[in-house]
Symmetry: C2
Subunit: 432 residues, 2 copies
């Protein structure tokens, strides 16, 4: 399957922010050519006139819990503790087999229409998540929800073996939920597994002040220091959130080559805080961006996250020049991809996987084109996505999904499954 | 022209947040009926099956500078002073006749596709703004950019007379730019005009710490106190931004029946701060929401503003329960309308003007429908707007504008005019 995308503006993000004019050819899942029209063209199965719209790398959603779409708008505008204990946990406890597949399928649609080609997912029912991704044609990286109550080291090792094969659209990273849900023995075991596999470890870390203070009280160390003392970062790693970071934490991030994934919408909505991402970038730490799950965000929209990542830094630094648009765009695409172990599709270049988004430059909110990158970061929304291509396949074009499944059926099934789950939850409330 | 919108979910915002099922009939520019299907139906020119999507009041953009689309992404990621003095002012000085008409025309498209039916505009070239609004079918409220360098009291009075007629789609409110651009004589004159017309006054106020501190240094009073001492609020008023407000300021807002229009995106991006809107609502002050202009935002998207209005309050209060979704939705629609003097179209009710938005409830980001209002505030974007009706006319439906003008021509003309303006600006830089 060869596709030609011609008459395009192209932002490769491969070594800079220049926008050139030309075309991109894909062959199977790979980018075959980027440049001016060639004299000797191969035969293409599909040729698309991009009409001077923009081709650029897709977003990579570096932290999410896809299945949690069922909790969207189920528990908002309430304090964090009752959100988690009275609503989220009891509903999750009632999930049945096949539910997550349906809830993830809705998330896939939301990713695809929003220009996202890959997501790093932390949730149980990993097989259902992988199946939903694969049925939609999405790229998924699993990173464990392992904690003292769910999962096991043996399962972690087994999933690592199972999902790190030749298929670039599925991979598995070692991970655990958070220091406050994993006991020391489990963490030591995971560090050992990381050593034996020479693999980095991924986890929620320093999301709230309470988490950090509790960890200091229990161990005398911040979460990052504590995990470092257990050898958790000896092969690098990734932390999600990173809102509360000490100077020493930042030294550890640098020394141990740990990426930070910022989730600004979730952190605002749950009143957790604003991560110091402008400083992280200044210190040379790799920054990615994630949506977190629909229970806390509530949308799975990387345009919103990228926008917030930029403007919130201006606010907290008091400097309108802080965190320019280019840095936010880079974090949402290349930075996220690298944190996820997806160097295969981080930028647009020959030999890279063909994860390509087309942005509509004729939309009213893109006028005039004084600066296309600033327009994308500060003015664009999901509405500006004209095409999402993942691994060489077009999954979305001009407002329509190009999927084998019936998307109306997907949303209806998820809706019915969510209603059934709520019913089980309400009945349990009556019983108790 | 009678239109029937049937098989709908309906959120009237008329006295609560209940969502009912039924239909809405419009007759000319007015809402004729809301309720269950009737036995004795009149003849309709158009009947639309809403298919259980949601009908609700449109957004009212209560503070904007529509013509400033030409400066979108022209001066970002730079300190406020150089943004204003080196970029915005020199470009504005080179605006020619007819330019604003073209730049406003692009803003109209952005408003319409984003579910906005009315905007309160502060800019010179008022006639061109009104013409752009009228050609697009939008509702406009002018509020003066009057200052010591632009406009005059005579012109303010003349526009007030000219645009407050029987046509509900155009109105004019008294206004001035800000305390730091208007001398005392001008302000006294405007207060006098307000007294003679018994009309409220609209202005930028307490947007930055610098503005407030400078005013205190010059007058011994905050901007609100200073204006109060001149009798400016004797017939009520509206302030845009209101980021830095003292307890005494808040007392003045209450006593003098002054609405506050918050512009969260602009305030974040220019590192101005976060307005204490949760407190304002608690104190019973009417809150509206505005996008500000494209030079500082950069988009004209009320979904983004409404979302930010809610989540930023959770952040600054440290309470995830602060500023619930319903309050943000109310401010972006009813609160804005009332501040703008548009009681004619604040809610959906019989006899009100038919400014109606249809939200696509089948979109992936609206699944499941655990809570439709929270879904709209926390998860929706412009992409979810299926229809925008203004004054009984459908201006946008299913991704297509229903306008007499060619929208491609509108964006192309604005783009060419912006390029010409930049050329004049660059040539002037060479000369100087």
């Amino acid at each position: 399957m060869r596709t030609r995308l011609y008459n395009a503006k192209i932002l490769t993000l491969d070594g800079g922010f220049d926008i050139t004019e030309g075309e991109i050819h894909t062959n199977g899942g790979e980018i075959d050519y980027i440049g001016k029209p060639k004299a000797d063209m191969p035969h293409f199965d599909t040729e698309i006139d991009v009409k001077q719209n923009l081709l650029m790398p897709t977003f990579k959603n570096a932290h999410t819990h896809s299945a949690m779409t069922f909790l969207r708008s189920f528990a908002d505008d309430m304090p964090l503790e009752s959100w988690l204990n009275d609503r989220v946990f009891p509903m999750e406890a009632r999930l049945g087999e096949g539910d997550c597949l349906k809830f993830c399928a809705v998330a896939m649609l939301e990713y695809i229409e929003g220009g996202i080609s890959a997501f790093m997912d932390m949730y149980a029912f990993e097989e259902e998540t992988v199946r939903a991704a694969s049925e939609a044609g999405m790229r998924v990286v699993l990173s464990g929800p392992l904690n003292s109550f769910t999962g096991s080291l043996a399962r972690e090792a087994q999933l690592y073996e199972k999902y790190n094969g030749s298929d670039l659209t599925v991979s598995k990273q070692l991970g655990f939920h958070a220091v406050y849900t994993a006991d020391r023995e489990l963490l030591e075991g995971l560090a050992e597994l990381s050593h034996s596999l020479k693999a980095p470890v991924f986890t929620h870390c320093s999301e709230t002040r309470t988490e950090v203070n509790d960890c200091i009280r229990a161990t005398g160390m911040t979460p990052l220091e504590y995990l470092d003392s257990l050898g958790m970062w000896d092969h690098g790693g990734v932390i999600y959130h990173g809102v509360y970071l000490s100077d020493k934490d930042i030294d550890i991030l640098k020394e141990k080559n740990i990426s930070v994934i910022t989730c600004p919408a979730s952190n605002l909505k749950l009143a957790s805080g604003i991560a110091p991402v402008e400083r992280l970038i200044r210190e040379g730490i790799n920054l990615g961006i994630g949506t977190d799950g629909a229970a806390s965000n509530n949308s799975l929209d990387m345009f919103r996250e990228m926008y917030l990542a930029a403007v919130l830094q201006k606010y907290i630094t008091g400097d309108a020049a802080a965190m320019p648009a280019e840095q936010a765009l880079y974090a949402a695409t290349v930075g996220s991809a690298r944190a996820m172990g997806l160097d295969c599709c981080d930028v647009l270049a020959r030999g890279k996987a063909a994860d390509i988004m087309m942005i509509d430059l004729y939309a009213p909110d893109m006028q005039p084109q004084n600066d296309i990158i600033k327009n994308i970061v500060y003015s664009a929304s999901k509405k500006n996505v004209k095409m999402t291509m993942v691994n060489g396949k077009i999954l979305y074009m001009d407002g329509e999904f190009c999927l084998p499944s019936d998307t109306d059926r997907i949303t209806a099934e998820a809706s019915r499954a969510a209603e059934a789950l709520k019913l089980r939850y309400k009945e349990s409330l009556k019983e108790s």
